[in-house]
Symmetry: C2
Subunit: 110 residues, 2 copies
DNA sequence: TTTTTATATTGCAATATTACGATAAATAAT
DNA sequence: ATTATTTATCGTAATATTGCAATATAAAAA
């Protein structure tokens, strides 16, 4: 098969899975971290920062964009990418909630 | 190809990507949420909770275990699974750090 | 001991992902 | 107008993932 059975899961579960999947590759984690580091929207540069060919980087950027993790706007003949804060705040609050619950329960039976 | 070039990225980036990838499927998100909900280690039940065949669920559990998100211990003829708090706390603090940085910067140029 | 219960493994088909060379498209610079 | 620069898309090969039926394994129950 290879196709995910999304229809059986909740919208929230699918949304989290989509965001997580987009970060499920080190190059895409590196892109997010680079966008954080440079402290600004980046027009270009990303290809030079990564050990991957330009079409590959372009593809990774597209996936991050499709997942909603980054935004891109055309700026002359370059494209300006930056992090979508909303998506990251969804992930932040999701994992904060889980960690809080685990902290409160302290099951620890395994 | 299809194989990820992990060797060019930092250990941290690969670690985050591995955890994120493991959560990049709604069934695996659902498993984590179920383990949270039942408030205990679960021996069995997981297969009945998911709309997937037993071998498929077993495979998803294996991937969560390989990524370090859950632990499993043999309990008679059943297996007792529970969340590995450490892995979730890594994700929690990673996204908290990113969100904090974004909050502080407020770039918002795209 | 045979049967049941719970989980894992194997094998396979369908599809998705990763990576890149070649090329296109679109604006900027000369 | 031509050339350079920047990014996207196409095509394709290699590999990975998803899902399940069939089967194996191993302990519990009968």
């Amino acid at each position: 098969m290879g196709a995910t059975k999304t229809e059986h899961f909740t919208d929230k579960q699918n949304a989290i899975a989509t965001l997580a999947k987009a970060l499920g590759h080190p190059a895409r984690v590196a892109i997010i971290e680079y966008l954080m580091k440079v402290d600004a929207c980046i027009c270009g540069d990303i290809v030079n920062e990564l050990p991957l060919a330009q079409p590959t980087v372009s593809q990774h950027l597209k996936e991050l964009k499709n997942a909603g993790l980054i935004k891109g706007s055309i700026e002359g003949n370059a494209i300006c990418y930056c992090i979508d804060e909303n998506a990251l705040s969804i992930l932040q609050s999701y994992f904060a909630t889980i960690s809080d619950n685990l902290e409160r329960k302290k099951i620890n039976c395994c």
